[in-house]
Symmetry: C3
Subunit: 159 residues, 3 copies
């Protein structure tokens, strides 16, 4: 992957704190790109980002135009029942057109390429999730202090 020996030392940690489609994919795309560049990648899922590794939710993430005027839909329309589902389906279709895989396949690709996937213990407790609720490729459940340890020397993104 990398022709540069120094890259072997480069580390990227991505904290995923949001569970919407439009905030899940940037983390997945960057993790994947980094791995393809030979960079060591760790993803840490916390708060709403837990949805990305929650077996029941990961392939059914949502998007809403509410609170996001960039989507160009008036709020008075955005609140109507069915609009979140419609916006979610539209965004999923756009992402498929770009040849990005669904969330579970994407995480599997990242894991297979050596990316580490960690769930936040505190968020597990807050959302009453158990290890068996999580996607099988998740490496471990860790606390914030452990995350600080493994992110030493890394570039860290908070998404």
């Amino acid at each position: 992957m990398s022709e540069n020996g120094n890259d072997a030392e480069r580390k990227l940690c991505i904290i995923c704190s949001k569970g919407t489609i439009d905030m899940a994919y940037p983390g997945l795309v960057l993790a994947n790109a980094a791995l393809m560049e030979g960079i060591d990648v760790t993803m840490f899922f916390t708060f709403w980002g837990m949805d990305i590794i929650n077996k029941k939710k990961m392939n059914n993430l949502k998007a809403t135009p509410l609170g996001n005027p960039s989507m160009g839909m008036p709020n008075i329309v955005g609140i109507l029942p069915g609009v979140t589902a419609m916006a979610s389906a539209m965004m999923k279709k756009e992402i498929e057109k770009l040849d990005f895989p669904p969330v579970d396949e994407f995480l599997e690709t990242i894991h297979d390429a050596g990316g580490k996937l960690y769930a936040c213990r505190m968020a597990m407790d807050m959302m009453k999730l158990k290890k068996e609720d999580l996607f099988s490729e998740v490496d471990d459940v860790i606390g914030a202090m452990e995350f600080m340890e493994l992110s030493e020397g890394a570039q860290v993104l908070f998404i």
Copy 2:
């Protein structure tokens, strides 16, 4: 705290730009964890993040299911009067159950452990805040250039 001499050099700067409960606690938790690992911590509050250090608002931060489908509440319900208050109270209760202190106590703990707390001058002006509106543990009001100076060599998170 840290048994590792090198850790003394490690620095973490957290830019807090959001004022909701669910985006305030990740910064507080990470700051606290980093300090417990012997890492030098600076928090910089700007834009909506000013609410976290605003004496009148800090212990009354809110959460809303609107624009956040991860909370699992239909938008048509989310807009009803009282729903933001209800969602905020629920989230506060969940955070208490995890034994995290209220915002003012948490900031005090962080400050007592050596964490630095800075308010953004531009955001102060935009929100017409004075120094006396801020939590007493805030170290100083600084500009973006000063923040750039003190974040030299740090891992920087934008929340």
Copy 3:
């Protein structure tokens, strides 16, 4: 600008993924402050952040109180037609009062000071944008892997 020779080596990369006024300006302000400190700056626009460099949208970014309880407006009011426009106009006025220029001028200042501006190829495709839809000062359209390459050794912010 910088009296410190070492600063010449310092790099800051800002990933702009959001297109609201209140999430566009923090990136612009930090980029500008970093350049004034002699730091090498790269801005990478992706997802909703494309609006910041979209000629038709950049000077008409919006803000909405929906999903942002920090703005202090009840959601039941926030959904009314015209409220997003009003909130956007109010925020624009506050930003002008602080003597910050409109988005196009701000990006031009950043570019003139040596800041690099890159659009994300994937986001271009997703939003059906062409090079001619982008602000003239944008240096290039690049992929996520190229972004990973040019952010080597940088402090990276995800906004």
